[in-house]
């Protein structure tokens, strides 16, 4: 079957007026999939999602249906579904517009997913810094209760389901699933040592599925159209459409939904290429925690296997793109400062390592580095990597080591020359949107 280059599925109704409202969602066929699923056996729903090949869209790429099958149904404790909408990985900006535009897609996905794993409580954990997204989610959940999609005996079945929208309070680490669970329990968001995994002892030490918002929002379309329809997009091991987030020095940055395995060359072409008069220097394939790639990787299929073969990670498909005006030392420092700020402090290698790496990188940016600093960075990275409870430290190590791998000369130039002399910072400034925005609407104008 020939599949189009872009395949809007999750994004299909984003240009419709008031797509966030229940009536409009129902008019597009919304909640039909939930009816269909609740007439199936829960294990058949799990099998369907397994057969679709859906893999986690939050970064790790674990098969969603397999994750659900790990929930021990013999455990007498309540089962929980927790949706990870903490979207905070630098570059990642797909879940936020999705939840603002079509929150009911997620709510319907939750109904189906909870039914599949026999959970009666779900929590939508959203980062707190996105007020309007939280408003839309709160309203969607309230509408769903009123319509009988949530609450007692939903959809005229005997099945009960409650959803709570829970706002975080500003902590990148809460996107890590066990830190998220601690945060949802009203604690500091710090990762837990595994095992036990959340499927066995998650929220309140009960069996818990933690899934990314995009993963669960993909479920209604799989139930409605079937596993084969879903698999008709993407590659053999990376099935389905997904949202690629293009940002940076691009003519038309934005969200592009395409089958997994699409190349960056194709996406960049659709987005009008790098801004006029400039060339691609490097990009992150899946957010700042994934090793950077260069123009040599434009034809890498952006699926789980393809990006791994190129030495990086598909991650969240967040393609942060930088042109030749940008100093890699500067971006590496900024990313590392981010991780230093967001390190929860629980594990010493991460807490201390990020601090020391920032000191060294600041010196290199200012041209005050010392001979051997680049090797020192790599040595610290080696001492930090894979030595913490979670992968936050591995994220900054990936950025630093890959940046040095491709642009070592720029780091060594930091022994004598400030980065801003080599790459005048004003040349990187770019305001791509000159179009009028809605910022100023004076009352008098109305």
């Amino acid at each position: 079957m020939n599949v189009d280059i872009l395949t809007p599925s999750l994004t299909e109704s984003w240009d419709q007026p008031e797509a966030w409202k229940l009536a409009n969602y129902e008019a597009r066929g919304g909640y039909q999939a939930a009816r269909k699923a609740l007439a199936m056996a829960p294990t058949d729903v799990i099998t369907l999602v397994k057969d679709s090949g859906l893999r986690g869209r939050g970064g790790a790429g674990f098969p969603t249906g397999v994750k659900w099958s790990f929930i021990p149904q013999t455990n007498p404790k309540p089962k929980y579904l927790v949706i990870n909408c903490d979207e905070s990985e630098p570059g990642t900006c797909k879940d936020i517009p999705m939840l603002m535009a079509t929150p009911h897609t997620l709510v319907e996905g939750i109904i189906i997913s909870c039914f599949a794993v026999n959970a009666h409580n779900a929590f939508i954990y959203v980062r707190g810094e996105v007020l309007h997204v939280i408003r839309r989610l709160q309203q969607a959940v309230a509408e769903a209760y009123q319509a009988g999609y949530l609450g007692k005996g939903i959809l005229d079945t005997g099945y009960d389901l409650d959803i709570v929208v829970h706002a975080g309070a500003g902590a990148y680490i809460c996107g890590e699933e066990t830190a998220l669970l601690d945060s949802l329990e009203g604690r500091r968001g710090q990762p837990r040592l595994r095992p036990p995994f959340p499927a066995v002892a998650g929220l309140y030490a009960s069996p818990t599925v933690v899934n990314n918002a995009e993963s669960i929002a993909s479920v209604p379309s799989i139930v409605a159209n079937g596993a084969d329809w879903y698999k008709s997009m993407g590659t053999e091991k990376s099935a389905g459409p997904t949202i690629y987030s293009l940002s940076g020095h691009i003519t038309r940055p934005g969200q592009y939904e395409a089958p997994l395995g699409t190349t960056f060359r194709t996406l960049l072409d659709l987005a009008g290429g790098i801004r006029a008069g400039h060339q691609l220097k490097f990009f992150t394939p899946g957010g700042s925690s994934t090793p950077i790639l260069t123009p040599d990787h434009l034809d890498v299929p952006l699926d789980y296997e393809g990006v791994a073969a190129a030495g990086s990670i598909l991650g969240t498909k967040a393609l942060q793109t930088y042109d030749e005006t940008v100093s890699v030392v500067r971006t590496t420092l900024r990313y590392t400062e981010f991780y230093k700020h967001e390190s929860c402090g629980k594990c010493t290698p991460c807490r201390e390592g990020s601090w020391w790496l920032v000191q060294t990188l600041r010196n290199l940016e200012a041209g005050r580095g010392s001979e051997g600093d680049v090797d020192k960075l790599l040595d610290v990275c080696d001492n930090v990597s894979m030595k913490s409870f979670c992968t936050l430290a591995d994220g900054f190590v990936a950025n630093i080591t890959s940046s040095i791998k491709y642009f070592r000369d720029e780091f060594e130039a930091g022994y004598h020359t400030p980065a801003w002399e080599l790459f005048p910072y004003e040349k990187s400034i770019y305001f791509p949107y000159e179009r009028e925005t809605l910022i100023v609407n004076e009352v008098a104008d109305k």
């Binding site: 599949v3 189009d4 280059i5 872009l6 395949t7 809007p8 994004t11 299909e12 109704s13 984003w14 240009d15 007026p17 066929g29 009816r35 979207e87 630098p90 990642t92 936020i96 535009a101 707190g128 810094e129 007020l131 309007h132 939280i134 408003r135 309070a169 500003g170 902590a171 990148y172 945060s183 009203g186 604690r187 079937g226 690629y244 940002s247 940076g248 940055p253 969200q255 592009y256 939904e257 659709l270 700042s288 942060q320 500067r330 900024r334 981010f338 601090w355 990187s428 400034i429 770019y430 305001f431 791509p432 949107y433 925005t437 809605l438 910022i439 100023v440 609407n441 004076e442 009352v443």
Partner: protein, 250 residues
């Protein structure tokens, strides 16, 4: 900071990191306590309510107040140390009074490079305050943000946690001028701006009725869909089987 004797230990952690227990001012009322109990009732385990309760404290007191900490501890049956431990972990909880309008400028790598650094410097200058400070009239506070999940709209600012997308120095100045003049200002893809305290109340789980304001999506969010529509591209048609399984509909 530059004056310290080099033999003295200097902590990387500033003393302002704890809750200010010397400021006794509070507006916590019986109604606040009642709303805290409503939050508790949403969860299977009471302590899960702590984050939204602290958002509520900020909406009432304009900061994490000592009285608010005590109220949370009492209602949840945990120690004030436990509440303080949580309140000081998350960056959205403010230990000193935030402004009526809380201004954020993203300076994580991509936004910084594309203009965020310039915007932050300009905001400091315009407001006459540094990061994590509040203007003397209480109108504005300023924060350097880490990535706010809007990279396709870079450089990004936030006001009261509403998106101010694709900012330029001119737009940023206009934004501040209009807010200072008390004019109505709208988020680029959200509602009309209210106040930081009202935002905090929504985060505590008490809707303000503004969900229907603003567009479905901002322009960058729609770029891919626009290209697809232009070229007639779409996801494959669903197979023509009945949409409702046998017996699935009543």
């Amino acid at each position: 900071m530059s004056q310290h004797d080099e033999h003295h230990f200097v902590s990387a952690y500033d003393d302002g990191s704890r809750i200010d227990a010397t400021d006794r001012q509070t507006n916590i009322s019986a109604q606040t306590l009642d709303e805290m109990r409503q939050i508790v009732a949403r969860y299977p385990e009471p302590r899960s309510a702590l984050l939204p309760m602290l958002h509520l404290v900020q909406s009432v007191d304009g900061r994490i107040s000592d009285a608010g900490v005590n109220a949370c501890a009492e209602i949840l049956g945990i120690s004030t140390a436990q509440v303080n431990g949580v309140a000081t972990f998350y960056t959205m909880y403010k230990r000193r009074p935030a402004g009526e309008h809380h201004i954020g400028v993203c300076t994580t790598s991509l936004c910084a490079v594309m203009g965020g650094d310039v915007l932050l410097a300009q905001m400091k200058d315009k407001l006459g305050i540094d990061e994590d400070e509040t203007t003397p009239d209480g109108k504005f506070s300023l924060e350097r943000l880490e990535c706010n999940a809007a990279c396709d709209f870079a450089p990004v600012m936030m006001v009261n946690w509403e998106f101010m997308d694709a900012m330029t120095p001119e737009k940023a100045n206009e934004l501040i001028d209009n807010l200072a003049a008390g004019k109505e200002v709208r988020s680029t893809r959200g509602a009309r701006l209210t106040s930081w305290r009202q935002a905090e109340r929504v985060l505590a789980g008490f809707p303000d009725g503004l969900a229907d304001e603003g567009p479905t999506a901002g322009p960058a969010s729609l770029e891919g869909l626009r290209v697809a529509r232009e070229r007639g591209w779409q996801a494959p048609k669903a197979p023509t089987v009945p949409q409702i399984a046998e017996g699935g509909s009543k």
